[in-house]
C-alpha cells in the first residue's frame, strides 16, 4: 500500500479511472430495478471492495460491468470509453475479466479444456501456450489436475480453475465475485495474495466479499452497498473502522 499507484489518495497524479459505473439503474426482466443509481470507480492498480448484505445488488453490479446485463440507464466506462451495452465478448477483448459468484467451471470438461476456453477468442496458439504455463504456475492445482474432469474437483480447486481461465488473456480489469467463498484459509490466502499481485501489476480489481473485514484490510477503497446504491465509501481502512459499517451491514457489532 506504500506503492504510490495503489494509493487512491495520491492527489494530482491519481491513476486513471479504468472502470466506472455511473448512475447505473439495472434489474431483471420487468421487475423493479435492483441497482438504483449505482456509481463505482476503479483505478489502475487499485482494489475496490464492495460489501453489503445479501441481495444488495453486488453481483448485479458486476454483471452490468462485464456486459452480462445491460443497464436500463446510466453508463459503464472502460478506459475512458463508453462501453454501455457492449457484449461480454467485446469487453473481454478490451481487457475485462469476470469470475462469477459460486461455481462456474464447465463441469463436464477437463481442467485443460476449461483453461483453454479462457482463450477462446484468441487464435494465436503460441501466446495461449505461454499463458497456460503462467496460470499453471500461479495455480498449482491446475497443473496437477490438468486432465481431470473439472466437475470432479473440490469446490476450492474449481475456484482456482476459474481464476486460471479468467486470467488467460491477461486482463487489465478483473471483477471477482466472492472469490474466497468456500475456500480453506490457505487457499483464501492464495487468492488474496493473487489479488495483491494483480494490483502490483497495475490491474484494476473490483472485489465483492462477504469476508468484509479481511477484504477491507487489503483493499484500497471500500463501498458499502445496500438496496442498489452505495451508502458509504472511502479508503478501505477507514471504512473498516467506521461505526456506520457495523450498523448498516455487520449487524451492529462494534467495529474493530
Amino acid at each position: 500500500m506504500s506503492d504510490p499507484v495503489s494509493d487512491p489518495m495520491s492527489g494530482p497524479i491519481a491513476a486513471e479511472q479504468v472502470l466506472a459505473l455511473e448512475g447505473v439503474v439495472a434489474g431483471y426482466g420487468r421487475a423493479a430495478p435492483v441497482l438504483r443509481g449505482l456509481s463505482v470507480t476503479v483505478r489502475a492498480g487499485e482494489v475496490v471492495c464492495l460489501v453489503g448484505p445479501n441481495g444488495a445488488g453486488k453481483s448485479t453490479a458486476l454483471k452490468v460491468a462485464s456486459g452480462l446485463l445491460a443497464p436500463r440507464s446510466g453508463r459503464v466506462m472502460l478506459a475512458g470509453r463508453d462501453v454501455t451495452g457492449l457484449t461480454p465478448q467485446r469487453l473481454l477483448a478490451l481487457g475485462l475479466a469476470h469470475v462469477l459468484q459460486g461455481h462456474s467451471v464447465f463441469r463436464e470438461m477437463t481442467v485443460a479444456e476449461n483453461v483453454r476456453l479462457g482463450g477462446y477468442t484468441v487464435r494465436d496458439q503460441a501466446r495461449l501456450d505461454a499463458r497456460i504455463e503462467v496460470v499453471k504456475e500461479l495455480f498449482p492445482v491446475v497443473a496437477e489436475r490438468w486432465g481431470s474432469m473439472a466437475g470432479l474437483l473440490s469446490g476450492g480447486q474449481q475456484k482456482q480453475v476459474e481464476f486460471a481461465r479468467a486470467l488467460m488473456l491477461e486482463p487489465s480489469v478483473v471483477l471477482l465475485d466472492e472469490p474466497s467463498m468456500g475456500l480453506d484459509p490457505r487457499n483464501t490466502q492464495v487468492v488474496f495474495d493473487q489479488i495483491d499481485l494483480m494490483r502490483r501489476a497495475g490491474v484494476a480489481v473490483l472485489l465483492v466479499e462477504q469476508n468484509a473485514r479481511r477484504a477491507l484490510e487489503m483493499a484500497d477503497v471500500g463501498c458499502v452497498l445496500d438496496l442498489g446504491r452505495v451508502h458509504i465509501s472511502g479508503p478501505a481502512r477507514e471504512l473498516a473502522a467506521d461505526p456506520r459499517l457495523g450498523r448498516l451491514y455487520l449487524g451492529g457489532q462494534p467495529a474493530t
Binding site: G67, T87, L100, F106, L152, A166
Partner: protein, 292 residues
C-alpha cells in the same frame, strides 16, 4: 436360444437407430432447455422429402442427404432464432412444449395436404435381403440403418468433442454465463446447436423412409419412445441418450421375440416410469456420461 440371440441382435440394430433419432432431442434440451415435441414430425418431413427425391428423381435415399442435411440445419437455426429464442425464460419449458406441439401439427397438416394420408415407403433392392449368421437373420435395411446411425453419431461426437464449435456448444450447455464471459456468442451457438439437432433429423428421416412405411401422423408413435430414451439417458446428455437407446432397443427386441409387440412397446414406458421413480436425473447422465 437362437430366438433370444435374434431378439438381441435386432435390438442392438434398432437401438442404434433410436440413438440417432433421439440425439437431436438431447441437443435441443441441452442448449435451450426445451422439449422439442416436433422432432419426430421433422423426421417424417425428411422421410417424405426422401420419398419425393426417390420417386420423382430416382435419387437414392442417402444421396439426397447433401441437400436435406444443410436444409434442415438452416431450418433448425430459423426455428431457434425466430421462435424458441423469443419465448420468455420464466415459462420456457411449458411454452416450448406448446410451441413445438403446434409445429408438429403444422408439419403433419402440410404433409397430409401434399402427400395425402396414405402410407408411403421407399424400397431399395439392396435393403430387402438379409444376412444370416449362425441362425440369426439380420435384415440388410436394419444393418444399413444401424451403420448410418453409428456413422452419423460418430461424426456428431467428433464435432462436439474436437471442434471449436463443439467446445463452444458444450460450454454454452454447461454454463451459459461463464460461456459468454469467455467470449462465446452463446445465442448464435444455441441456434447452431438447434440446427445440428435438426440436421440429425434429416439423416434419421432418410433411414426411416428406408426401413418403415409411413403416413403423416406417424410421428406421434415416436415422440413417446424418444422422450423415454432421453429421460432414461438423462435429459440433455447426448452420450446418455445413446446408451439408453441401445438398452431400450435391446429390451424391446428381446421382449418382442419372447412375449409380444404390445409388451415390447410398453417397455419404453416401464423404463420411463422406473427412471422417474428411482433416478429422475436419468441413468446415464451426470458422471458416467459427459453431459454435453
Amino acid at each position: 436360444m437362437t430366438l433370444l440371440l435374434q431378439g438381441l441382435a435386432l435390438g442392438v440394430l434398432t437401438g442404434g437407430l433410436y440413438a440417432l433419432l433421439a440425439s437431436g432431442l438431447s441437443l435441443y434440451f441441452g442448449v435451450m432447455r426445451v422439449v422439442m415435441v416436433a422432432h419426430p414430425a421433422f423426421l417424417f418431413l425428411a422421410a417424405y422429402l426422401t420419398y419425393t427425391a426417390h420417386t420423382a428423381f430416382g435419387v437414392d435415399p442417402f444421396l439426397a442427404l447433401p441437400v436435406t442435411v444443410p436444409l434442415f440445419f438452416a431450418l433448425g437455426v430459423a426455428v431457434q432464432r425466430l421462435l424458441v429464442a423469443r419465448l420468455a425464460p420464466d415459462n420456457l419449458a411449458m411454452m416450448s412444449v406448446l410451441l413445438t406441439f403446434g409445429l408438429a401439427l403444422t408439419i403433419e397438416g402440410l404433409l397430409g395436404t401434399f402427400y395425402t394420408g396414405s402410407y408411403r415407403s421407399v424400397s431399395m433392392d439392396y435393403a430387402t435381403r438379409s444376412l444370416t449368421v449362425g441362425g440369426v437373420h439380420l435384415p440388410y435395411d436394419k444393418i444399413i440403418a444401424f451403420s448410418v446411425a453409428a456413422l452419423t453419431l460418430a461424426v456428431l461426437f467428433a464435432v462436439l468433442v474436437k471442434s471449436r464449435f463443439g467446445r463452444a456448444l458444450r460450454a454454452t450447455i454447461q454454463h451459459r454465463e461463464a460461456a459468454r464471459l469467455v467470449g462465446i456468442p452463446t445465442e448464435r451457438v444455441a441456434g447452431y446447436g438447434f440446427g445440428v439437432g435438426l440436421a440429425t433429423a434429416a439423416v434419421g428421416g432418410a433411414v426411416l423412409a428406408l426401413i418403415t412405411p409411413f403416413f403423416p401422423a406417424s410421428h406421434w408413435v415416436w415422440i413417446g419412445k424418444l422422450m423415454a430414451v432421453i429421460v432414461v439417458g438423462g435429459l440433455g446428455s447426448v452420450v446418455g441418450a445413446a446408451l439408453a437407446a441401445v438398452l431400450l432397443g435391446v429390451v424391446e427386441g428381446v421382449v418382442l421375440v419372447t412375449v409380444d409387440a404390445t409388451w415390447a412397446t410398453m417397455m419404453f414406458y416401464v423404463f420411463l416410469f422406473l427412471t422417474l421413480l428411482v433416478r429422475p436425473q436419468g441413468f446415464f447422465g451426470g458422471r458416467l456420461a459427459h453431459r454435453f
